[in-house]
């Protein structure tokens, strides 16, 4: 291979884009050609220069405007129960599941089991609110066949085939 064959491959080699089987002839040429070796060195050096350049941030701090636009996060039912019980969400749900199982078992046996302490009113109210939200969302989703509420607005904003606002989301 001569210099004209090698030169177009040097940048690929420098960025790691040249497949292993094609690297051999290029490296052999570099070992004996001063001119191509210099060009390759420059391409590699350019990579380290680029890595040294920091991204330029905005001229002003955007956080105050962003913070003002953030709506308070609505906690899920699981987060509320776990917060109330002082447990991680997984354990809280496990506890709820165990309690349900015990109640169901007791009901099947017909035996007497002690009445569970009542949840504080605030948790019950929030649970009702969540259930209400869920039912409204699912009703809207079944009508529209897609995401609802502000997620729908976010999805509508995107023009790429797959909305970034929806990608990676559950």
């Amino acid at each position: 291979m001569n210099c004209d064959d090698i030169q177009p491959l040097l940048a690929d080699l420098a960025v790691g884009a040249l497949p292993e089987p094609r690297q051999g002839p290029v490296r052999e040429h570099l070992a004996r050609c001063e001119s191509c070796r210099m060009a390759f060195g420059q391409l590699c050096l350019l990579g380290s220069w680029l890595d040294e350049i920091p991204p330029t941030g905005p001229a002003r701090d955007l956080w105050p405007s962003i913070a003002a636009a953030l709506r308070p996060r609505k906690r899920t039912l699981g987060q509320r129960i776990s917060g109330y019980l002082g447990l991680s969400p997984g354990w809280a749900w496990a506890g709820v599941a165990c309690a349900c199982a015990v109640l169901a078992w007791g009901g099947l046996r017909g035996g007497d089991i002690p009445r569970a302490p009542e949840l504080p009113a605030v948790v019950v109210a929030e649970a009702d609110e969540d259930a209400d939200l869920l039912s409204r969302w699912s009703a809207q989703a079944s009508l529209s066949g897609g995401p609802v509420g502000r997620y729908a607005a976010a999805a509508a904003l995107s023009v790429l085939p797959e909305s970034a606002a929806e990608e990676g989301l559950e």
Binding site: A11, D12, A14, V15, G16, A17, A39, Q42, L43, L46, G47, W49, L50, D51, E52, I53, P54, P55, T56, G57, P58, A59, R60, L62, W63, S65, I66, A67, A69, L70, R71, P72, R73, R75, T76, Q79, R150, Y151, A154, L157, S158, V159, L160, E162, S163, A164, A165, E166, E167, G168, L169, E170
Partner: protein, 190 residues
């Protein structure tokens, strides 16, 4: 580049509604996202709007994000889509401020008349920034994301929506273009 465990815990906290954690995320990512937005749309004011909108939009959808580790790619994609929405993705002009770099006094010869190493370094950085800003769109985007933003090639591929091989190929072509354009490398377009 980041401590993954720390990063994931920040995203998890923000997912639960912790604004302080979200501010720390903003502090870590704002320069990368703003620079990326500016390189796409070509002007500082629009880039600021896009950066703000991206953080607000990400906050709203964060509880539904599948994994905390996906946050960085995901918010870059939001920035990209907002740039498309702004109709400015193909802007070619040099983004304000991105190619200029810091200003310095060039009338400062050293007593021995030899060039100052720090001055040469600044001049070099300025020339590289300008050359990057003048790259064709596809090449500039991968260079800004990968080199200036420190984003791994696989993540760049996900952000742009192309195979990793295409990202590498664009990086290689960009490297050639930059070499030709930067005069002291002896390229033919100096």
């Amino acid at each position: 580049m980041y401590d993954a465990a720390r990063w994931n815990s920040l995203v998890d906290a923000a997912r639960q509604g912790d604004r302080r954690a979200y501010e720390l995320i903003y502090r870590e990512l704002s320069a990368r996202l703003y620079h990326y937005a500016a390189s796409l749309v070509g002007d500082a004011a629009t880039a600021e709007d896009i950066t703000q909108a991206a953080f607000v939009k990400a906050w709203e959808s964060l509880p539904r994000l599948r994994s905390s580790g996906a946050f960085i790619v995901w918010i870059h994609r939001i920035v990209r889509n907002l740039a498309v929405d702004a109709g400015r993705l193909t802007a070619r002009e040099e983004p304000s401020g991105l190619g200029d770099g810091p200003q310095w006094d060039t009338e400062d010869p050293r007593p021995d008349g030899r060039p100052d190493a720090a001055l040469l370094e600044r001049e070099r950085a300025l020339a590289v920034r300008r050359a990057v800003a003048a790259l064709p769109d596809h090449q500039r985007e991968v260079v800004v994301l990968h080199h200036l933003g420190g984003t791994p090639v696989e993540d760049v591929a996900q952000i742009i929506g192309v195979p990793a091989g295409t990202v590498l190929s664009r990086l290689a072509r960009a490297r050639e273009t930059l070499r030709r354009r930067i005069y002291w490398l002896g390229g033919d377009a100096a």
